[in-house]
């Protein structure tokens, strides 16, 4: 029992959870509508896309990589499925297939650049980001895609269950998009916990040389990570369109920093090796609640950007400082602390060990 308690105390996730609780209390002290079912439901609904994409980013950060192209990828996915459903077919299953395949392919390109050509992730994804954003603008001229088919709009309005909203006569259900978030979380959790690829992701993040020395294929794992991330972004793109019911090709500019900040806030280390699904859920929640709190407290929106940047830098500094302190502790030279002559001691030990 004691053991469990000490483990909880030590875990990074619990620390972040505590911050989450404290901040929630502070915000609700300023604004009584914060801790209402309706507001929380709104917070969840408007952050489903962030949640799904954070699962992909978690895998990338775990291996010590980073992906700054995700905003461009989801923009491209929304444009592709927007055009697809307006021009070709409104079949919901096909829309999902097109979105997911498009996202996965773009992720695969990142993966190939990073795994095969060994381009540093930040550079590779900066490059693809620029190319994809450029193509999106070329294809749309920056214009919104409207005229989304009615059956897709109806699909996006489906809710599950009915919950009375306190203080009003309204009844609200859980939006169907929430199921996709649960799916992304469950799938990512399963991959990380129960597949060799998932354990390989942790192993590579912990010690890449050792992982390769025991026969793990880091190239294939890297390919998998970026493709899977693309798959989740594809899913997020469809979910986003079902909520917004139109496509704004510029909607996601600057979104990558929010995803990265949320995941890092959840305890994932940008240096690789450390991070978990549960931590990421808490991190994303904390991030969303801070954002929501800023809105409820009527703080101008530019403050959000400032807060995101500060969150990111603070979390990363924490990791880097922690690592430096750990490295400093490492012993370089084994200092002989014994005062007696070791050689005589050696002879003595030899004779006693024979006796």
């Amino acid at each position: 029992m004691n053991n469990i308690f000490s483990q909880i105390k030590r875990s990074k996730e619990m620390g972040i959870l505590a911050i989450l609780v404290v901040i929630s209390i502070i915000i609700s002290a300023f604004n009584s509508s914060f801790l209402t079912f309706g507001n929380l439901l709104d917070v969840v609904k408007s952050n489903i896309v962030l949640g799904i994409m954070s699962m992909g980013m978690l895998l990338v950060l775990l291996t010590g990589g980073i992906d700054v192209s995700i905003a461009s990828v989801i923009s491209a996915v929304t444009v592709i499925i927007g055009r697809f459903m307006v021009d070709y077919s409104s079949n919901i299953f096909l829309i999902f297939v097109v979105g997911v395949v498009a996202g996965s392919l773009m992720g695969l390109i990142n993966g190939l650049l990073i795994a095969k050509l060994k381009i540093p992730p930040i550079v590779a994804t900066l490059g693809t980001m620029s190319v994809i954003f450029g193509l999106v603008l070329y294809l749309t001229n920056g214009n919104w895609i409207t005229g989304i088919p009615q059956n897709f709009i109806d699909f996006g309005r489906v809710t599950i269950g009915q919950f009375p909203v306190a203080g009003s006569d309204q009844i609200q259900g859980i939006p169907i998009q929430f199921l996709f978030l649960l799916f992304a979380i469950a799938l990512t959790w399963f991959i990380l916990k129960y597949t060799m690829i998932g354990r390989g992701i942790y192993a590579i993040g912990g010690n890449r040389d050792s992982a390769e020395r025991i026969g793990m294929n880091s190239e294939n794992i890297t390919l998998f990570i970026y493709t899977y991330e693309g798959f989740l972004i594809g899913l997020a793109g469809v979910v986003h369109t079902s909520i917004m019911r139109q496509v704004d090709p510029n909607a996601f500019i600057g979104f990558e920093i929010q995803v990265i900040a949320a995941v890092v806030l959840g305890g994932a280390s940008v240096l690789g090796g450390y991070g978990s699904v549960s931590g990421t859920i808490i991190g994303v929640s904390l991030f969303c609640i801070i954002n929501n709190g800023l809105i409820l407290m009527h703080i101008p929106t530019f403050w959000q950007k400032i807060v995101v940047g500060i969150v990111l830098i603070t979390s990363i500094s924490f990791d880097v400082i922690q690592k430096r302190m750990h490295d400093k502790k490492n012993i370089k030279v084994d200092i002989d602390e014994s005062e007696s002559s070791f050689k005589r001691l050696g002879v003595a030990e030899k004779s006693t060990s024979q006796a």
Binding site: M196, K332, I335
Partner: protein, 495 residues
């Protein structure tokens, strides 16, 4: 006799471009034997282990028999499958994973698992730890364990793969005495289970406490294998040392005018209580085994690795040195061990490299470099140091090793140092160039410069050191007079 041998290596040689690292080595390890492999720095121990683990392929003509099976070639995977497990100094573990997973990971990968069975993982880890009689919580993250416990996890991991020979490279270097004792009782326990241990260490007391037999390498050659009762410290040392001295031995001087003093310098995990005096015009040799703290000490004096406590006194003045710029200002220069990566910008010209330390001297008031001043300075050093070819605009990477070393020296001499520290000044250059560098250092010292030469190569230390300071495990083991000094005397203090 041959039936008792788990491992027989015969006539193993290894040639790297330009260097014969191993010459006709023999090594035999019995089943259930604790076998010590010893030799000076650079004697060829690591190369031999890398051949055994399949990292390097030996030259033609080598015979390797593992567990009765003749091995034509060995890949790293063959080596593992034949039951050879090498525990490197970094353990090759995963700091972010649990103890159980670290132990079971190799077997998971080997069985080409796709899905992880956590119950099996825990069982594998539990039984490996039981074999060693250890109680380490399986769910603990590895980085939370002490170094000693991490090492035991590495040993447990080797057992999972049915290791029959465990090679341990300096396994005790980061352990306390008590931890060494418990490691030894585990090693003895493994021996009883018929597992052989190949133990590499510099610590003679520990070697004598645990080993059944000793194989000695010297200069890439096999000296012999001896039973524990055939050896004592002195005999062992005389077998280990004795590299031929091919250098001119300079006449040793006794100098009395102190210029630089180090008092009680300490840094946790690096070195402790270092005190010595350097005299004007003296060459002080500092030697010791790799890992004794020599370079850490030099870097502390130079401000790269500031010490925790102690004093540096130059010409009677106490110095504050927390960064290299301060050291250079005071007149202390340091030429690092790896001149190629640390001492030179290889893609730049010789001229650019030489000027790097004295940019202020050759700059105008506005901070721009004056070409004329630069050329004058560079020509002076090319002339003085006999750098060949004498083309200032030559790209440094195209120069020979000896000339590169001269460029580095010029660069630091341009700062007009009072104390010059050179770390392994002749590492990786040919004999002729080495002798030139020795002559150069000697000339500089005769002009009044005080020089500290750090070297693992005992003949080099004997050739140029007026006095020799021997470091062992972070402390000064002895200060010896260079006159009539022998390699044995130094090695006795170093081990």
């Amino acid at each position: 006799m041959a039936q008792n041998m788990f491992l027989r290596m015969h006539n193993v040689s290894k040639t790297f471009p330009g260097v014969k690292a191993l010459k006709n080595i023999d090594l035999e390890v019995e089943y259930g034997e604790i076998h010590a492999l010893i030799g000076e720095n650079g004697a060829g121990k690591s190369t031999l282990i890398k051949i055994l683990s399949g990292v390097y392929q030996p030259d033609e003509g080598a015979e390797i028999i593992i567990d009765g099976v003749v091995q034509k070639t060995i890949t790293p995977l063959d080596s593992l499958k034949r039951g050879i497990a090498v525990i490197y100094q970094d353990f090759s573990l995963f700091p972010n994973l649990s103890v159980a997973e670290n132990i079971a990971m190799v077997s998971r990968v080997e069985k080409r698992k796709k899905i992880v069975n956590w119950r099996e993982t825990n069982q594998i880890a539990r039984s490996a730890l039981d074999k060693l009689g250890l109680r380490i919580p399986l769910s603990k993250t590895l980085s939370e364990l002490s170094v000693a416990k991490q090492q035991l996890v590495a040993i447990a991991r080797a057992l999972v793969n049915d290791a029959k020979l465990i090679v341990m490279d300096e396994p005790t270097s980061a352990l306390s005495r008590g931890e060494v004792e418990s490691l030894f009782s585990i090693i003895r326990n493994l021996k009883e289970q018929g597992i052989s241990i190949l133990f590499i260490s510099h610590k003679l007391d520990e070697l004598f406490a645990i080993s059944d037999r000793f194989s000695i390498l010297r200069d890439g050659k096999y000296v012999g294998t001896f039973g524990e009762d055939e050896l004592d410290d002195d005999r062992l040392i005389s077998l280990m040392v004795g590299r031929k001295i091919e250098y001119k031995i300079f006449e040793k001087r006794t100098l009395v005018d102190p210029i630089f003093e180090v008092r009680n310098l300490s840094k946790a995990g690096n070195f402790k209580d270092i005190s010595f005096t350097l005299h004007r015009g003296e060459i002080l040799g500092i030697t010791g085994l790799v890992g004794a703290g020599r370079s850490e000490l030099a870097q502390a004096i130079f401000g790269l690795n500031p010490s925790d406590s102690g004093e540096l006194i130059l010409e009677g003045k106490r110095l504050q040195v927390n960064a290299p710029e301060q050291a250079v200002q005071h007149g202390i220069s340091y030429i690092p061990e790896n001149r190629l990566t640390e001492g030179l910008i290889l893609k730049k010209t010789m001229s650019d490299n030489i000027c790097l330390t004295v940019l202020k001297q050759i700059s105008s008031r506005h901070g721009l470099i004056e070409k004329a001043a630069q050329n004058k300075l560079v020509e002076k050093w090319i002339e003085e140091m006999h750098i060949r070819p004498n083309i200032p605009n030559m790209i440094t990477s195209k120069l020979s090793g000896g000339n590169q070393q001269r460029v580095v020296l010029s660069k630091w001499l341009a700062t007009d140092p009072k104390v010059l520290i050179v770390d392994e000044p002749t590492n990786g250059i040919d004999i002729g160039a080495k002798a030139d560098i020795h002559q150069l250092l000697r000339d500089l010292s005769e002009q009044g410069m005080s020089i500290i030469v750090i070297s693992s190569e005992l003949p080099e230390i004997l050739a140029i050191g007026d006095r020799v300071l021997v470091m062992r495990r972070g402390k000064i083991a002895a200060t010896l007079d260079g006159k009539n000094l022998t390699q044995e005397e130094i090695m006795k203090e170093a081990l």
